[in-house]
Symmetry: C2
Subunit: 499 residues, 2 copies
Amino acid sequence: MDSNQQYLQYKNIVQKIADVKYASAVLQWDQETYLPVKGNIFRGQQIATLSEMAHEQFIDNKVGDLLNDLADKNDLGHKEKRNVLLSLEDYNRSKKFTPAFIRKLSVAVNKSYHLWIRARKENSFSVFRNALHEVIELKRQEADIIGYKAHPYDALMNDYDKGLTVEITDALFNSLRPSLSVLLDKIKEQSPIDNSFLHRHYEKDKQWEFGIEILKRIGFDFEAGRQDTSEHPFTTNFNNKDVRVTTRIKENDFGNMTWSCIHEGGHALYEQGLPEDQYGLPLGEYCSVSIHESQSRLWENCIGRGLSFWKHNYPLLREKFPDQLNDIPLEKFYKGINKVHPSLIRTEADELTYHFHVMIRYELEKKLIEGSLATSDIPEYWNEQYFKYLGVKVPDDLNGCLQDVHWSHGSFGYFATYSIGSLYASQMYAAIKKLTPSLEDEISSGQNQVVLSWLRQHIYQYGRYYNSGDLCLHATGESLNSQYFITYTTEKFSKIYVS
Amino acid sequence: MDSNQQYLQYKNIVQKIADVKYASAVLQWDQETYLPVKGNIFRGQQIATLSEMAHEQFIDNKVGDLLNDLADKNDLGHKEKRNVLLSLEDYNRSKKFTPAFIRKLSVAVNKSYHLWIRARKENSFSVFRNALHEVIELKRQEADIIGYKAHPYDALMNDYDKGLTVEITDALFNSLRPSLSVLLDKIKEQSPIDNSFLHRHYEKDKQWEFGIEILKRIGFDFEAGRQDTSEHPFTTNFNNKDVRVTTRIKENDFGNMTWSCIHEGGHALYEQGLPEDQYGLPLGEYCSVSIHESQSRLWENCIGRGLSFWKHNYPLLREKFPDQLNDIPLEKFYKGINKVHPSLIRTEADELTYHFHVMIRYELEKKLIEGSLATSDIPEYWNEQYFKYLGVKVPDDLNGCLQDVHWSHGSFGYFATYSIGSLYASQMYAAIKKLTPSLEDEISSGQNQVVLSWLRQHIYQYGRYYNSGDLCLHATGESLNSQYFITYTTEKFSKIYVS
């Protein structure tokens, strides 16, 4: 068989596996949006079966033989070659897991997700503890199965950003911590910003309409996606023409919906921009979770918490909520939405203190995976660290270690990518600004096209062609450099907190 | 391996296949409720892959060997024995199809469904014609693949009701036609009923709320199901704890939503009542489409168009729509909702003329499948028959041969089961009445429990244990007898049309 025929065979196989994986994603999306309560048990089983099936099909020896054959070919195009090599890497990694292990993890994760929901209702970590412990033990086994050089947590972080290690992350966070602390100390010396207007009563329906309009304005294509509500906002996709975001709405906390909406919108723009002709193939997938996070954070923070963005969008917001905002001029609104204030909930944190939330989770997970912290000690450790780094007392588990969905999903190794994503975002935003000095003016007049075009050209179209580091180098001309984030935040917050 | 171990192995295999089939059903449900427009192409491919996969796994020779082994065992319980025999029948039938044929049909059906939607928008059968023709040709091939004794259409009808044939159906319809004609002629002599109040303006939101309340009142469990809206109302289930109905709402046609809602509710009660411990096994599935239809029609017509039902529910309806119904006394409402009037749309037809809609489709499909009618001649044939039997002139395709979703789904052989379902429904309702002479009083006071209990005991719990005919005999003490339907309608409409 010649290379082209073999490549077609490979494409056909992995696209069918993608069909199964995306079907499973539809079932998961449904589970978090519309599933009737009693439907949960069978749904868990159905998702587990699909995961197992996709895995079994992918680790078939015939697939391995085909991939190894193709990897030796010299007459494939550069994209085809890259797809094959990435699939072979994925294959070799997947081959390490037995179908029984995959199923065990899937069942454990399903159980822990539902117990996390119940634990939140009962505001009690202990409801969740045993199910979480089971997941952690399986993740520790997973690290051993995958293998690692320096730290078992490296093996898990690699799932979200290939090449990311404890060593790299420690270095990044050790450089971030002091800069953030200096900036925070300066801010503490200023009088606090009043943003109580964000906690006036904002009607649910109108918030929903505003969120939809903002998604449209940043470029989300509602013919190739939709928004619904769920317990915890997320983005999922079943192909680049069906990308779904969710949000949650609190009537006394306008910011909760708005920036989660822009955040998920940023993720969604990336998914909608992935190359359609690479459906199911590595080049049709996102580069890494860090890069995915850079996309959400670029829109949420660099743009969505910027003065230029609100110059254009504040009139619409005021139109929707005249009673709540007529006495709040734009400048006051802008300062209010950028108030820096150590707090309890990660997803509601400001742009600066946010990274302490992440660093606490990162350190905690490292300890859980290396076995130096017991599952039952999570709340105590969590509360200590929050007091140490953020100076806040955690009143209960709901406002503490039960706040994030990630662990219930088994997503250990994920959190660091939020901060790393922010670093990438600042660097990309600086690159766009350098190319288009009129950027802020364009955004002020509602023209986000320049941003979207740059992202399409430098990020979206590549899928997994480059890894995170190379993509950054290729797109911005420079390797990841935390100085961009430090400069961006220092400039922004020095202006906001000038007394 | 002993029988119990082998049975567990069998159960494990078919339940995993059921997981895949139900996952496909979730994707189809989503396709008709929430899918963004551009998501259609990949969705079709994803559904096709799952169908093919479920089929491939089921027709594995190992499954056949296991089933044949188990079929010879003498130490299985009667339910286990029945499951094995039914699965073996299904296996032998499925084994006749190649995966390529299944995929071809699935792709053709997906394409024809979308062209049906477009054809309806453009009100033009020709938009749909070629795609439909492809489906018909595949269904003709399917009949040949399955095999048949007397008529190719028998092979297709068997998919919906095992044992049903052209011979049986012709006999039933030939006995139904004259009785209906006599009754209709008598009605024509009476002055027509005014039901224009049904076409006043009924607000969408309030109709929706009323539909939800009616579903609750007939016993639908919203913790094990939900209602949404779609182009064409349907019921689907992913297990007996997740049963979903859809409805459509027309603001100037109150009846459209209400009786489709009760109809689908009847289907859904059946699905919610199937035995949970038989998930994925034949005994966890409905008996036949005819019996399924008997359940929807029993609730829609015998109960939902009865005076007793509205004695209880009319006050709620009037509360929701005082402006529309305050001048309409219950008696007038009851007559209005039972107005007999030949019309164009099957789903909006009255209880009597409805069966002509079915019989026309039945005759037409027979001709298409035996090859005596060309796809391109459908509109002409359709319009002629409607004039001949119902005396109505079909103004366009939207009100003619484009009205039903079934053909676009490849569901040839289905329509007859609607009428046969009505026959079963009347016979069951008569059986319940015989056991509980106070039935109408109970329904009048909102107590549907007696009906639901009877159905649970005599129908739901059996799944596919009996075929339609045996189930009817077992439940009512008698084989299917069309006289029950004739008596029921004659009594009911003679009272309504007494001048």
